[in-house]
């Protein structure tokens, strides 16, 4: 996955993501595609979650999945989730604890759904997602409506080990997360961070529009054979657009 929150010089916040899923989940040698990724595309739907006939939030979902991996609460906040791999404190221990009856941690999908239903501000969403015990490590990427409201939370099972906030006044006009801790180099055969960061810098804050973020997210290898969809969000305007993506050859498998 690749998630980006960007702030324009006028303080507008955009949030966009590529959803990549299905790594090492069966490679179709005839078509050069990932089996699971191909099965996910027909399941993509947009959920319009309503209460009293009014939209409470919108989410991009896979039919049958009740959690939220990509969502936007108009005028409040947006959220995307990226997988985080950690040998130390991996999801295995959290899942085993759950199976053995120790139910202190939250499954990520159920937690994000709960946040969208019950939380109304960027600050509170950030606080809840920073503090809840989880089943496994994860990156939460959140965006808001005001200047500075954008962050990547690098979560372990127990706590937030790093928070990377937007800080446009000091040069951090975007935050970008793939699937690696920002203080470590990405795996050299899976470096989507470098090309995505280069494209963001070439674009510049003044040109940070949803259209241009779409260009960044559809530059290979940010776009790759695992990419299921690209979503574009603007919380203030209530925009959530999603496009099913295919990566034409030549295209990297991840």
């Amino acid at each position: 996955c690749t998630s980006i929150v960007a702030e324009t010089p006028s303080g507008e916040i955009h949030h966009a993501r590529d959803m990549d899923f299905g790594l090492l989940m069966g490679w179709d040698t005839q078509n050069d595609t990932w089996l699971l990724t191909e099965k996910l595309r027909p399941l993509i739907v947009t959920g319009d979650f309503t209460r009293n006939n009014q939209t409470i939030f919108k989410a991009v979902s896979f039919a049958g999945y009740i959690g939220v991996l990509t969502g936007m609460k108009p005028q409040k906040f947006s959220l995307t989730v990226n997988e985080r791999y950690s040998v130390k404190g991996s999801g295995l221990s959290g899942i085993l604890k759950w199976i053995l009856g120790q139910r202190t941690g939250s499954w990520m999908g159920f937690l994000t759904r709960d946040v969208f239903e019950n939380v109304d501000t960027y600050a509170e969403a950030k606080a809840v997602l920073s503090s809840k015990l989880l089943i496994g490590p994860i990156y939460f990427i959140i965006g808001g409506v005001n200047s500075g409201e954008g962050a990547v939370l690098s979560r372990s099972i127990e706590k937030t080990i790093d928070t990377h906030d937007l800080d446009a006044k000091n040069g951090t006009w975007f935050v970008l997360e793939t699937n690696y801790d920002r203080w470590k180099a990405p795996l050299f055969i899976d470096d989507r961070r470098t090309p995505a960061t280069r494209c963001m810098n070439e674009m510049g804050a003044a040109n940070a529009t949803l259209a241009n973020l779409f260009n960044v997210l559809n530059t290979k290898p940010v776009l790759n054979k695992l990419t299921v969809y690209t979503s574009l969000m603007n919380v203030k305007a209530g925009i959530l657009e999603t496009y099913i993506r295919f990566c034409a050859d030549p295209c990297w498998p991840w």
Partner: protein
């Protein structure tokens, strides 16, 4: 596959937006939170049952390939215990999806936690 080795060097793309597809090509479903949880996803689950079964069969094969059937057995045998710590509404929603799509509840549960399984 037909791809060069890293480091990747493709130039940053321009002018791809708007793509040929429209965002409206993806179906939008209302999830009415005023309805009982078991009924919220009924239409969506019924419409997408075949595709869900297709995906879940792949997930089961993959899970079996690394766990030797252990996890699927666990989900089949101990499902009530596994569901007991989840929010009641979430369990009811999964039950509603299972019923509408005619898929065992254990498989819907596995699907809903597979993202976390995948990470480890």
């Amino acid at each position: 596959g037909d791809f060069p080795p890293p480091p990747y060097s493709e130039t940053c793309r321009q002018g791809l937006y708007p793509p040929k597809e429209k965002p409206t090509d993806i179906a939008t479903y209302e999830v009415n939170l005023d309805l009982p949880p078991a009924k919220r996803w009924a239409q969506l689950a019924a419409d997408k049952a075949a595709e869900m079964k297709d995906l879940i069969s792949v997930i089961k094969k993959l899970v079996n390939s690394f766990s030797g059937g252990l996890i699927i057995d666990l989900v089949d045998k101990d499902l009530p215990k596994l569901l007991s710590g989840l929010p009641a509404d979430s369990v009811a929603e999964m039950q509603g999806i299972a019923q509408a799509a005619n898929i065992p509840l254990g498989e819907i549960f596995l699907y809903n936690v597979f993202y976390e399984f995948n990470a480890f």
